[in-house]
């Protein structure tokens, strides 16, 4: 056995680098008052705890810096971590802020450059009506034009639109809505991060399983009236409703 695995290791490399694009929420700050930031962030998280739980996060200081407001990056990172978010980058920070972030293991994203002259004196008093703004970058839609075959899995951070069939044994997942303009024979799971407003639309329902935000029905639960029909599926009082369209 051991010689076999050694041979395998010799033939196929154990690692490779690939490039991927991810959609990550960006926290844009408009105030340097860390207490207000913590409060408001806490409120936002309370609205969708599932979504924010252990969510990666990039914080953006460009606006703050353009207002000449300095912020203690170390403290900010501590607050973000304390609230259960995982900071994975700083954007638009000044040189010293970037250095502080780097020391805490937070990489610097050069989304755009900031022109903050280090000579200007930075205001320390927060403006009264300054608010924190949490901007969740709208995840782009995923469009699939070829059939999704048995054994394939497709995950979309936003809406998932499929212009072909989804075969039995295939699995399609989306954080947003799912549209299938073909026969849906596999499993379809919409709102997988807890979005109860997500819906599934398909032009021919033959699914093995349908689920919205964790509420699911299996093929056996589908009654004959909706099978092979163009339908939409949504949540109403924690119950899946299947209606023709």
């Amino acid at each position: 056995m051991s010689t076999d695995s050694q041979q395998n290791a010799h033939h196929s490399p154990t690692l490779e680098f690939k490039s991927s694009t991810f959609s990550v929420p960006v926290l844009v700050l408009a105030s340097n008052d860390v207490i207000t930031i913590e409060q408001q962030l806490q409120e936002k998280i309370h609205l969708a705890p599932e979504f924010f739980k252990n969510s990666p996060l990039v914080f953006d200081l460009q606006e703050l810096n353009s207002l000449d407001l300095d912020i203690d990056v170390t403290e900010l990172i501590n607050i973000i971590r304390k609230l259960g978010l995982l900071p994975i980058g700083i954007r638009g920070g000044a040189a010293q802020q970037n250095q502080q972030a780097l020391e805490l293991g937070i990489p610097i994203h050069s989304g755009y450059s900031t022109a903050v002259s280090s000579g200007t004196q930075k205001q320390q008093t927060p403006e009264p009506e300054a608010t924190t703004e949490l901007q969740v970058i709208a995840a782009t839609n995923t469009l699939i034009t070829h059939p999704v075959r048995s054994g394939q899995r497709i995950y979309a951070a936003g809406d998932l639109i499929i212009l072909a069939q989804v075969s039995a044994g295939a699995e399609i997942l989306a954080e947003g809505n799912i549209h299938v303009y073909g026969s849906l024979r596999g499993r379809a799971l919409a709102g997988v991060q807890g979005n109860t407003e997500a819906r599934i639309f398909c032009s021919d329902l033959q699914a093995e399983l349908i689920s919205i935000a964790g509420n699911y029905k299996i093929s056996e639960d589908l009654n004959g009236a909706v099978l092979n029909q163009p339908v939409q599926i949504y949540l109403q009082n924690h119950t899946l409703v299947i209606k023709d369209i």
Partner: protein
């Protein structure tokens, strides 16, 4: 430009080797220099179907390991001098194949041959993966029953995501459906999926239907590809398939049930 054709299915026993032998012979008979490779290392069968099992000296694995040259291992077919067979090794297993080694052999064959037919083993593991990895065209052999269709669907997914063409973002592999062991009578009785059923599930271009036929077993036992039995329905079906693949327009046959004496006399539709 040489084209690499993989004959694959996922499921075993659906007729991959029979199909590989028949279409390789068909392409060679049409005047194209063709090689057919048995990827089923450890369970080699192609040499039996091609009737060259007594002439095997070196095999695919010997060439990969550099123990023999390609020319030493290739066996010229006794019926057609444009057809060559590269047999699998019976004493080794699939781990003896490497992507690098297979790629090298295919590159070398491409210089000299017009078509290279890769006879895939069943399953979706290493042997099947390497058989399809370098392919330009895929012949998906399916029987008209649900498990075979499901496995073919799985294989189609692998072709579209794990092949060289997919990994390098090239034009995808061209996929063709071959429906084998088809019996119109049993379809009528509801015992078998129909051509339409299978096409609806797989949504794939149908290259041809091969009827269930005694001639296939006879051909296998005698070691002559069934396409050479020009009187048999299966032989004719394969001839149609090769012609269609090469761009000829031929109507589909063997889909409707054979009419009995009454049917012929009082002719239905």
């Amino acid at each position: 430009m040489a084209r690499i054709i993989v004959v694959t299915s996922g499921k075993g026993g659906v007729g991959k080797t029979t199909t590989s032998a028949a279409i390789a012979m068909g392409l060679a008979k049409k005047g194209h220099k063709t090689a057919v490779i048995d990827f089923d290392v450890g369970l080699r069968n192609l040499d039996l179907i091609m009737g060259c099992e007594r002439r095997v000296v070196y095999d695919f694995v010997n060439v990969i390991n550099g123990e023999a040259t390609l020319n030493q291992a290739l066996i010229r077919d006794k019926n057609c001098n444009l057809l060559y067979i590269l047999p699998a090794s019976q004493t080794r297993d699939k781990d003896a194949l490497s992507q690098e080694g297979v790629g090298k052999i295919l590159d070398e064959l491409k210089k000299d041959f017009k078509y290279i037919v890769c006879d895939s083993p069943a399953g979706i593991e290493k042997g099947a993966h390497l058989a399809m990895y370098f392919a330009d065209d895929a012949f998906i052999v399916t029987n008209p029953e649900v498990s075979s269709v499901r496995d073919s669907d799985r294989m189609l997914g692998i072709l579209s995501s794990k092949s060289r063409r997919a990994e390098q973002n090239e034009e995808p592999i061209r996929e063709y459906l071959l429906l084998s062991r088809y019996s119109p009578d049993r379809v009528k009785l509801g015992e078998m999926l129909s051509v339409d059923d299978v096409q609806e599930i797989l949504s794939l271009h149908l290259l041809g239907v091969i009827p269930e036929s005694k001639s296939v077993l006879n051909a296998s036992n005698s070691g002559t590809p069934v396409i050479l039995d020009e009187k048999s329905d299966a032989g004719q079906a394969y001839a149609d398939i090769v012609a269609r693949y090469l761009g000829e327009d031929r109507p589909h046959r063997f889909i409707d049930e054979k009419k009995g004496l009454f049917g012929k006399l009082f002719g239905g539709k």
